[in-house]
Subunit: 260 residues, 2 copies
């Protein structure tokens, strides 16, 4: 059985485009509908109650637009919807599960580090999920509150980013694997990799998330032309500028503005 | 004629507490009702359309709560409501006018610098307002997009803030006056003053805004006990931590959460 409907992808802003890129490359036949809640980003220091309210609005929008499955690409929102596998009858996926599985696979023993937003760290979703897979594992979670604005400013390879990376990452020195627990952080990968050095594997959720979708969702019909559509809740200069750096230029325009 | 109702003060987040502090000190008999739209901050890189939609919701809330006058403490929101002197029949004040008048008063000739958010700079509200007061005046407006997150993180006196201040402020070297055109920036004053040096007067809207209110609003009854009440659209750790540094501790709690 095939299903031509798109997979809905939800992020607080443009960071989720790193997940959309990974999914669209791993599942080249599938169509995607992306929503970035740019008007209300960042999510990383909002309360769980507010994130749930905004998240439900975005998920409802993706349901109304006829998606066949829903992906929460935002780590902070993923932690709020962590134990929910359905939303209004559609399968709901988050990035914490695949990120945790990727870390355990990359590093069968030893300490796993996690960098994430303040709200993600406060909820300990990664620690709980990793320990469910690997009981007793040492997990160190560290908040990096300025990484999102630095990524939004396109400062992935900048003196300031390296100074803050050294400061934030100091407690994680020597970990076997480091989960990039925020969809913005791959945009700072050069600085993070520099500070951590070659002994630490940097882990993202994208590949195992794509595998999870491949195994659980009815595929698009063979040979059908796929579509990629991007919606945002606000039009900002930063989004348009950075979207073109993250995705191939042919994917990005047109960006549709929606009011939620 | 006196009027016991509070003055409503609106900001995107906690930066406006610097304005509330200035107003509450200059107008010690007046009551104030403050709303920080913490759930949806920062405003500084949203589109004018989105800022207007959110701003009207906050102003309507202050009207419904029975204020006698409305103050937009957020510079970015002030630029969107720049030419409006009333909202639903109540007097509406913004910080751009008093900030521009303070700059011209501090510096009868010479170049005036303005630092502000990306959206404020793109709208050139300060340049227009200063030139209406002082025709032909040279005004240099520079966006400092990372200053708000740095202020929210309490990094007013930090190596990273000084590096970014040197970078952002380089084009403003030697200006006679510098308008701190965002309510968060007074929280970074040590670093900004360091970089600019003693030859530049740092200007804020607070004192002339207080004077404007004193002259135009019926005062509170003599001898009445004043109240200060703070509402936010989300409860965040950063707000509670920094609010206590900006305001006297007795003012801050209780913070009422409202949904807009």
């Amino acid at each position: 059985m095939s299903d031509p409907r798109p997979i809905g992808v939800f992020d607080s802003g443009l960071g989720g485009l790193t997940v959309l890129k990974a999914l669209s490359e791993a599942l080249p036949g599938e169509s995607f509908l992306y929503v970035g809640d740019v008007a209300r980003l960042p999510y990383g220091n909002k309360s769980p109650e507010t994130i749930r309210r905004y998240g439900e609005q975005v998920l409802d929008f993706l349901v109304a637009r006829g998606c066949k499955a829903l992906v929460i690409a935002c780590n902070t929102a993923s932690t709020v919807f962590l134990d929910e596998t359905q939303h209004r009858g559609l399968p709901l996926h988050n990035v914490v599960g695949p990120g945790a599985r990727a870390a355990v696979a990359a590093c069968p023993q030893g300490t796993i580090g996690v960098i994430a937003t303040a709200t993600t760290v406060q909820g300990h979703a990664y620690q709980k999920t990793i320990r469910a897979l690997s009981p007793g594992r040492e997990v160190l979670e560290v908040a990096c509150p300025l990484f999102v604005p630095l990524a939004e400013e396109g400062m992935g390879d900048d003196e300031v980013t390296r100074i803050l990376a050294r400061r934030y990452l100091a407690p994680l020195s020597g970990v076997a694997a480091l989960v990039l627990g925020c969809t913005h952080y791959p945009l700072l990968r050069p600085s993070i990799a520099d500070v951590m050095g070659g002994g630490t594997r940097l882990v993202e959720a994208g590949p195992l998330l794509a595998e999870e979708l491949r195994q659980s969702i009815p595929p698009a019909p063979a040979g059908a032309k796929r579509s990629l559509h991007v919606c945002t809740t606000d039009v900002t200069v930063a989004f348009e500028r950075l979207a073109g750096r993250i995705m191939a230029p042919e994917i990005v325009p047109p960006i549709e503005r929606v009011v939620l």
